[in-house]
């Protein structure tokens, strides 16, 4: 169930300041809820301790599924169900199957991976974004810290945020 939680929100202007700030904050043992940025900041995953996404494995899996389905479909139709002599070719003309195998592999791989991405990232047309500051899709980086998850109090965390280069520090309650 969604419940209201209290957050301390640090606003950063610059991505390199943000990256340093994340290290400073995590070194102090503070738990960061999430960082919201208007663009992908390189190296932020490492600083936040996120693991590398396994979506590429999903892409491979879905692609393999596409390959198998394409082969099953074509062999099923042209070799088993209704074999016909076309241009004197074999009933299983494998070279002629390659283009469709390739296309179906790419199609399944792309759609499967993107579908997985949407599901795991909770992206959907009726999705409601979690927003601590509306400027995070414009020009500001927003770092959110959940107060309940941290031993340090509001004042201590605020001081650390200020020191790390945050241009603004706000308190915000949000239902998650």
């Amino acid at each position: 169930m969604k419940e209201e939680k209290n957050f301390l929100v640090g606003v950063y202007e610059d991505d390199s300041v943000l990256l340093k700030a994340i290290s400073i904050i995590r070194d102090k043992g503070i738990n960061i809820h999430e960082v919201y940025s208007p663009f992908p900041v390189h190296g932020i995953e490492d600083r936040l301790g996120y693991k590398r996404s396994r979506l590429s494995i999903a892409a491979f899996g879905f692609g393999f599924l596409g390959t198998c389905l394409a082969l099953t479909m074509m062999i099923g139709m042209m070799t088993i169900d209704w074999p016909m002599i076309i241009g004197g070719k074999d009933f299983l003309p494998f070279p002629a199957f390659i283009p469709v195998i390739f296309e179906m592999t790419v199609l399944f791989s792309a759609f499967g991976m993107v579908g997985t991405f949407f599901v795991i990232s909770n992206l959907k047309p009726w999705g409601v974004p979690i927003q601590f500051d509306l400027r995070s899709t414009d020009d500001k980086h927003v770092l959110a810290i959940e107060l309940k998850k941290n031993v340090l109090g509001l004042n201590d965390i605020s001081k650390i945020l200020k020191k790390s280069g945050a241009s603004e520090i706000n308190k915000k309650s949000i239902k998650i």
Binding site: D14, D15, S16, L19, E34, V35, Y36, S37, P38, F39, P40, V41, H42, G43, I44, E45, Y50, S53, L55, S56, A59, G63, M74, M77, M78, D81, I86, G87, K89, P93, A96, F97, P99, V100, F102, E103, M104, V106, L107, S109, A110, F111, M113, V114, F117, S121, L123, K124, P125, W126, G127, V128, P129, I130, L134, R135, S136, T137, D138, D139
Partner: protein, 461 residues
């Protein structure tokens, strides 16, 4: 952090900061359409209506309305189809291959180029669809669906069927690639609408943005998705025109039956695609005042791609002539002799002039950095590439093995009309896109503004 040499010119000029990027791009979506936009839309809709009549008559009366005859059984329809598919190659090439090569100049142009790709592929698809006559039954001819014949399945040994798979996959994957890139930008528009209190926009762009919030975790996954999609789209782009070329190359018609077709068609596709991107972007940047984002440097880069691909195409033309002679096959030799000196010599020379000679002018820096010259040459290239397909298709067919069946092709109003229809469709779609969607990928441009923006470059000096 990306570190870049100061010797490189800034990709984004005008001392923009992150907020300026949002302002400059979103403003076009937020403001009311200009008078010139309405005028352009009206022209596109008129073209669509006139063309729509030609489509209607074709479907009502059959493809006998076209100028095809027993000898020339493929002409304008397939020429236009290949032309549009070719144009549709630039977008995904820019966003996928240039992403893999880490070419950051792609970031200002990929959005519009991908949109162009998608619309061009839609236009291309009209021709195979319309030519089927009873297109509501077309699914049974083109897709492997069970039918009342037993099931008599589609023929997977046919390049025409490979084409169905290649083009639908290309369309679907390009659309997804494009949309993934749009999501963060829709979120920017949504949040600006919330701040400004525009409820309807906030609602619509809220749906379009899929609840994007820009969390670091999501961005990290997003980057993986973009990279893998680029990896998938790169061979896909190359496969599509390869398969289109196989429609011809796997036949036994002299002039078509050559192994050079796949690479030659792919180079030609990229060539015409970049020309169309240039034509559209030169107008878009002028009308939307995007000169700071799409700089002369961007145009120059695209012109360099045009020289490279134009030269490849030129070599292919000459290789074809050489191979016809070297093969010793008299039918092959005649097909090419007829191509150059026969009744369609003017088409051959238009093709040579527009595709091989015109782009060579870009070797001069003055010409490739001149907007007017670039614009004119981009249109010349588009015309030349249309002639290329016309030459390959019509001149190879019109003089059959039997001189008694030799014929010429004369297009009717309906041939021209359906071509006009696709122009109407293309420009209507592009105009709607340029009004309601951000024409530049804001999130990507924001990510490079620090390393290649003018302000930071001048600070480093």
């Amino acid at each position: 952090m990306h570190v870049e040499s100061n010797l490189r010119k800034p990709l984004i000029t005008g001392g923009k900061n992150l907020h300026d990027v949002s302002n400059d791009i979103c403003r076009r979506v937020e403001e009311k359409p200009s008078l010139s936009w309405y005028a352009a839309m009206a022209v596109s809709l008129i073209a669509l209506a006139i063309g729509g009549y030609a489509v209607f008559r074709t479907l009502w009366d059959g493809i006998g309305m076209w100028g095809l005859n027993k000898t020339v059984g493929w002409a304008w329809d397939i020429t236009n189809f290949v032309w549009w598919v070719g144009i549709g190659h630039a977008g995904t090439l820019i966003s996928a291959i240039l992403l893999l090569f880490r070419q950051r100049w792609r970031m200002s142009i990929n959005r519009a180029a991908e949109a162009m790709t998608i619309f061009a592929v839609i236009c291309a698809a009209q021709f195979p669809l319309i030519h089927m006559g009873r297109l509501w039954l077309g699914a049974f001819w083109a897709l492997p669906l069970p039918n009342t014949y037993g099931s008599l399945w589609v023929n997977f040994s046919s390049p025409l069927l490979w084409d169905v798979f290649a083009i639908s996959t290309y369309f679907a994957v390009s659309l997804v690639f494009w949309y993934i890139g749009l999501i963060p930008d829709f979120a920017t528009i949504r949040d600006r609408a919330i701040v400004a209190g525009r409820k309807l926009s906030a609602f619509i762009y809220g749906i379009l943005s899929f609840g994007w919030d820009g969390a670091a975790k999501t961005w990290s996954r997003y980057e993986t998705v973009a990279l893998v999609l680029a990896g998938l789209a790169t061979p896909l782009v190359l496969s599509v025109h390869t398969i289109v070329s196989m429609d011809f190359a796997t036949s036994v018609i002299p002039g078509w039956h050559t192994t050079i077709f796949p690479p030659y068609f792919v180079a030609g596709a990229i060539f015409s695609g970049f020309a169309m991107v240039l034509t559209l972007l030169i107008i878009t940047r002028k009308v939307y005042k995007l000169e700071d984002y799409i700089t002369i440097q961007h145009l120059e880069m695209m012109n360099i791609v045009i020289i490279v691909t134009g030269s490849i195409v030129g070599i292919a033309y000459i290789t074809e002539l050489f191979m016809a002679w070297y093969s010793g096959v008299e039918y092959e030799q005649y097909a090419f002799y007829n191509r150059v000196t026969g009744p369609y010599w003017w088409a051959y020379f238009s093709m040579m002039t527009c595709n091989v000679i015109a782009p060579q002018l870009f070797w001069f820096k003055k010409i490739r950095t001149n907007i007017a010259a670039t614009f004119i040459i981009s249109i010349i290239v588009n015309i030349g590439m249309w002639f290329e397909r016309f030459v390959i298709i019509v001149t190879s067919l019109h003089r059959d093995y039997l001189p008694s069946s030799w014929a010429m092709f004369y297009p009717t109003f309906y041939d021209v009309g359906i071509y006009l229809f696709t122009f109407g469709l293309f420009f209507t779609a592009y105009l709607l896109f340029s009004k309601f969607f951000p024409v530049i990928n804001m999130a990507e441009v924001k990510s490079i503004i620090k390393s290649t923006g003018e302000t930071s470059k001048s600070l480093k000096k």
